[in-house]
């Protein structure tokens, strides 16, 4: 069950999208999110969706994987659409007791669903096509101007890298500890909510202990290799931007402009 987590999972490949400079990919994703939130009519939103669809097809990510990334947000989608559907005033389409559905409600909830789905798919596309390490590298580079303000950019990026690195390790560890406690007769599947929360102690304590142990070991290993922060550090992977990157950014800005124009003409 723990193995089903896909958020932040990299899907290796060699498509145009995979090869884009990660810094540009982050900026383009930002532009895409801006597109979704500036669009205030369906045509604008449709243009955003076309943009998403084209990048998605270019990335050669299996469609199934994309759907999987949507699974955890289904409750959020249902919740927001219900709120919008029933609680917005306007032209009443039909009424059933105290429940009434308005035209505005229907429109807003459809709009919200498309927006959320596109948002998640767009950002998953970024994480599916960029390995976590390159992603944090790019974040560090993008944030580097903040260094002038004494903001610890390198440290932040290093923390993110380490956190990402240890997610699979800790998941595996949790699985192992759970099996070990089950073998001693721990019962995690039945009982009241309180009993189940209590049954988590035998898992959480060893997990914390081992996380701290790993942290200490890692810190020691880093110090042994003379790690002392970002100053004067060179990189194994240099980021290079090419014509394709600028072209991709250009295209996304064009899409953004079209959406703004749509807002002016149709809004």
């Amino acid at each position: 069950m723990l193995k089903d987590i896909t958020i932040g999972q990299y899907f290796p490949g060699n498509s145009v999208i995979h090869r884009l400079d990660p810094r540009f990919k982050i900026i383009i994703t930002g532009v895409f999110i801006a597109m979704l939130f500036t669009a205030d009519n369906f045509i604008g939103l449709g243009i955003g969706m076309v943009f998403l669809l084209v990048s998605f097809l270019l990335s050669q990510i299996p469609f199934k994987l994309m759907l999987k990334s949507l699974k955890p947000i289904i409750p959020i989608i249902i919740f927001t659409s219900i709120l919008n559907l029933f609680f917005l005033d306007g032209v009443v389409l039909f009424k059933l007791g105290f429940i009434k559905v308005t035209y505005e409600g229907l429109r807003t909830s459809a709009f919200m669903i498309i927006r959320i789905v596109a948002l998640i798919m767009g950002s998953s596309l970024l994480t599916y096509t960029t390995s976590p390490i390159t992603l944090t590298d790019a974040i560090e580079r993008l944030l580097s101007p903040l260094k002038k303000l004494k903001f610890p950019v390198h440290e932040l990026a290093m923390m993110m890298t380490i956190a990402l690195r240890f997610i699979p390790t800790l998941i595996e560890e949790t699985d192992k500890i759970m099996s070990a406690q089950k073998a001693r007769g721990a019962d995690m599947e039945s009982g009241s909510l309180l009993q189940r929360a209590k049954a988590l102690t035998p898992i959480l304590i060893p997990l914390f202990v081992s996380a701290f142990r790993r942290a200490e070991e890692l810190a020691l290993a880093m110090e042994c290799r003379c790690y002392q922060g970002g100053d004067g550090r060179t990189r194994l992977r240099q980021l290079h931007s090419t014509g394709t990157d600028f072209f991709a950014l250009g295209i996304s800005i064009v899409f953004f402009d079209i959406i703004i124009l749509m807002n002016c003409f149709l809004g």
Binding site: A180, A183, R184
Partner: protein, 289 residues
Amino acid sequence: MSVIKTENLTYTYSIGTPFEKTAVDNVNLEIEEGALVGIIGHTGSGKSTLIQHFNGLVKPTSGKIYVDGQDIWAKETKLRDIRFKVGLVFQYPEYQIFEETVYKDIAFGPKNMGLPDEEIDRRIKETAELVGLHKENLYKSPFELSGGQKRRVAIAGVMAMEPKVLILDEPTAGLDPKGRDKILSQIKEYHQQKKSTVLLVSHSMEDVAKFADKILVMNKAQLFCYDDTPEVFKRAGELSNMGLAVPQITRVFNRLKQSGIDIRTDVYTTEFARKTILEYLEKRGGERA
């Protein structure tokens, strides 16, 4: 009567994805009650997955497992009862310790079984003594103890459930030779005292050769053989071809045989080697005279 029996046991990981892999392939096996079995095999040969089937932690893709003649995946079987019957000590078991005191941690298993307090107390004291934990350590926090002692606590935690079958996955990994021999002899003592079945997974052929009556060899997800220890070591050549290191002493005797000396090759402990060599010399001396 066999205490664990498998029929065409097969387990496949991540079915339907590119990572699909068969870890246990059609294993048919019968383990007799009271046996002390060594399980050996390469990393990734499926031995860890196999033993996790025996107490129902892993559900087979196909095939059946019987514990005490009971199909453990039958509807009416309670898996928890099976887990009390088949105790499993994982690799590096010290990382599963969580209680405030050693006493409480050993009590976790027996408590889950719903035993009365006096019985739990008796079992804790008995197993603590068996694994060589001092009485004053029982009321200490387990996190104050050394690595080797923590491992003993964790092993005692499973032993205290007094399972019919005790399975240990590499109980000596990461210990020094002295600690290794100590834990192994304590396991052997438990086996003799409780007359229970013990399955011991190990990398070290030497350890297995010294302690086990029978050996189970896994190779590439399949059961290579399950037989009495001398019988298994007669096949030393095949074992080496698999990449399993046979005990050094067995290798010596195989080489002697290869160089034309007429000597038996099912030798796997130093004591037996000494006896064999003396016998051989005596025989040859007799011939000469």
